[in-house]
């Protein structure tokens, strides 16, 4: 225990930055729901402080509060004192995980997801079939599993084959002007392969060759959020090694959380940095390729901004949509996090869903028919909530529409 307290004490310089002003309350999606101090960053930080200052004896008890966090990062983004809440929570969880181990089933799942990507890719077709027979179709490719705790969810069909299996390798563009490394991430790999396909076709169209890793290695963030920081470091290292050895200037992502894990948080915990610029596909189209689209929609659409979208780029996302997609754009009043949080959705489904539902209610009440978001986690969460409230809206990535537009114009 003394060792653990010593390790938590190492966070003191970060913890002391918190002046306990409580600003985080206004931005924490879970606080808005629970109205409890233990939910919000100020409370969690003071718990860590209480342990290493000897005011709280049973250190393991605070893990449940640290775990009750979507890790959306809104507290960090809006903290007047610049407290690095994400760094504090991930490191504190890793310390506490030493005395409260993950259950063996949790470790087994992590091991498969993190360390056996080939095995995961082989299981995917079985899961695709399993979904057909073990779930009820509620809408196009949205299913409600019949059994177990998953039966509350409305989930998108799993791909017949992972994107990295079908599209792994080099996709050379005609009139090649540059090459990029496309990191699809697990969700696009297994759930939204059409996003990856859209990215390849759009980039190829503009003379950008695309390299897709043949085996998609998880970015490691699920391990980090469960307190398994060593596994996270391992995954970041493996991915950055792979990325760094490719001879190109940019890494393209379609998952803000993967980008955060590999290019922002990753270097802080591994001390290894990528030698390339990371870009979300939409900002890459805007800022590097400087291209515009003219997609016309005849239905109300809106935008959900993912929490992990790099803060300075968040405002640009709305601008991007306004400049590239014409139609009735509705700005939602609810600009909250969707509530997904990856492993948080697995551990605390009801709490996670409750956060997303409030946004879905607004989507329904305003008769919005399409929500654009450039994050697969948000897309899964919003899809679930939107189906649940009985809205007819669908959740999409703009890239799919850009690819369609280019294809239509080609004929």
């Amino acid at each position: 225990m003394d060792e653990l307290i010593k390790e938590l004490k190492e966070l003191e310089e970060l913890v002391l930055q918190c002046m306990k002003c409580g600003t985080c309350q206004a931005h924490c999606p879970l606080y808005q729901k629970d109205l409890l101090e233990s939910t919000v960053a100020r409370g969690k930080i003071s718990l860590i402080e209480s342990v290493y200052e000897g005011r709280l004896e049973n250190a393991t008890k605070i893990l449940k509060h640290l775990d009750y966090c979507i890790l959306c990062g809104r507290c960090k983004e809006n903290c007047p004192s610049g407290v690095k809440t994400d760094e504090i929570f991930l490191k504190a969880k890793a310390v506490l995980r030493k005395i409260e181990k993950l259950p063996s089933w949790g470790k087994a799942i992590l091991k498969i997801v993190m360390e056996k990507p080939e095995l995961l890719a082989k299981i995917a077709p079985l899961m695709h079939i399993g979904m057909k027979f073990g779930a009820k179709r509620v809408k196009n490719d949205i299913f409600k599993p019949i059994l177990g705790s998953f039966s509350k969810r409305n989930v998108k069909q799993i791909a017949k084959k992972p994107f990295s299996k079908t599209h792994g390798g080099f996709h050379k563009a005609q009139n090649e002007k540059m090459e990029v490394y496309f990191y699809p991430g697990c969700a696009a790999n297994f759930i939204f392969p059409e996003w990856g396909e859209g990215i390849i076709s759009v980039l190829n169209h503009f003379g950008v060759s695309v390299y897709v890793p043949e085996v998609n290695k998880c970015c490691g963030i699920p391990a980090a959020t469960l307190g398994e920081l060593e596994t996270y470091k391992k995954m970041v290292n493996e991915n950055l090694d792979d990325i760094n050895k490719r001879d190109c200037e940019y890494v393209i992502t379609c998952c803000p959380t993967c980008q955060y894990a590999l290019s922002e948080m990753g270097p802080k915990v591994t001390e290894k940095s990528p030698n390339k610029h990371f870009y979300d596909i939409l900002m890459f189209l805007d800022e590097v390729l400087n291209v515009k689209f003219d997609v016309n929609l005849d239905e109300k659409f809106s935008l959900h901004t993912p929490c992990h979208y790099l803060s300075p780029k968040k405002a640009n996302l709305k601008k991007h949509l306004e400049e590239n997609i014409q139609g009735d754009f509705v700005v939602l009043e609810n600009q909250s996090c969707c509530g997904f949080g990856g492993t948080f959705n697995m551990k605390k489904y009801d709490d996670s869903k409750a956060v997303g539902m409030s946004k879905a209610e607004e989507v329904k009440s305003k008769n919005v028919k399409k929500i654009f978001t450039p994050c697969p986690g948000c897309a899964m969460q919003l899809t679930d909530a939107i189906v649940e409230v009985g809205s007819q809206a669908t959740v999409e990535h703009p890239i799919v529409y850009y690819a369609k537009e280019l294809k239509n114009n080609a004929f």
């Binding site: 930055q17 101090e37 209480s50």
Partner: protein, 458 residues
Amino acid sequence: MLNNALIKKFESILGKNNCFTEPEDTMCYSYDAFSAEPVQPDIVVKPQNEEQIKYIINICKDENIPIVTRGAGTNLSGGTVPVKKGCVLLTTCLNKILEINENDMYAVVEAGVVTANLANAAIKKGLFYPPDPGSVNISTIGGNVAENAGGLRGLKYGVTKDYLMGVDFYDMDGNYVKGGGKTVKLVTGLNLPGLMISSEGLLGIMTKFVLKLIPKPKFSKSMLVIYDDVIKACETVSEIIAAKILPATLELLDSFTIKTVEEATKIGLPTNADALLLIELDGHEAQVLEDFEAVKDICIKLGGNIKVAETAQERDKLWEARRKALSSLARLKPTLILEDATVVRSKIPEMMKAINDIKNKYNLVIGTFGHAGDGNLHPTILTDKRDKEEMVRVEKAIDEIFAKALELDGTLSGEHGVGFAKAKYLEMEVGSGTIEYMKKLKKGVDPQNLLNPHKMGL
């Protein structure tokens, strides 16, 4: 310490999910935004309605348990730290705006309503709720009333007390008390809203308020004025007021704060300036424009270099300098002590000079900004609470800052309250007779001294 039987009593009223006694839960209510040693309550309760509050009071009275009522916990004077332990009662679930009456221009709200939510709801109806404490997006109306919160618009629009028309609360016998009401004129009985404002939870548990709303100003104009000499900036404040002009906002930043804000934000502030004034006038367009010209003349006469905001974007940029003052300072050192010394407006130059002398005398880092228009300055001490020797100097500096404020016909607190942070200074300001009267009043309504004991030294 509570026993199991007692905990069960609370749980039978509130349900298990709304009672917290585990140390890792109660620890989260051992502090507020004032930098002080935390004190852990024995139990935290989260009532869902007023009826439950009545029962909580009854248990606490029978069992002699102190009660601290807490909204968002943004106090800057330790007002919600449960220094005698006991029960922390959260008002966060009483968060409904019950009525916004456009014709009679008032709102009825529960104690846990976040201030910004009321302000936004009023604006949607063309009305205005002016009090805007720095914590406007977090703090609750209950907390605002308990601490008589102010903000950037205090000069023209006043503070929370100027908008409190009615208050409902429970006394320590669990009786429901209704003070004030919805009419503009009301002189029936004792002025209970006047008694409850600034009472910091010492006289009853407030649950509901009637608040005055006013028409939303139709036009506004902002400017930033840069000075080579902070004293000239302070004199400008006095001259504007002497010219019978009341800006909505008249804010001051000293040179250290300017440099810090610029380093943090890169918004293009002049880092060689000795002071900045942010001035905003609002109201009828013709009047605003006339006053604006007069203010400009005064600023120029006193050596000010003026930047006028011509668009909403430019206005936002000017405001950023003021809004980022506290946060920029907060990043410099681990411990930030935000003080609240307030003087009559004509004494601001003297107070600014005194703060500078005290800073030098004790070799401390102090940035000063604040609501110069209403004399409310926030000397902000940057330190590290682990440095015990420096903390002794900080304490002495604070003593001298308050002594000077009182010497200049000022007060210990313009908007942050007394709490326990300033309890030891209270007698300096109000005298022993007044303290005795406060004690009698407190004893009369709370003979067991259970409502937020020890605050204001009572």
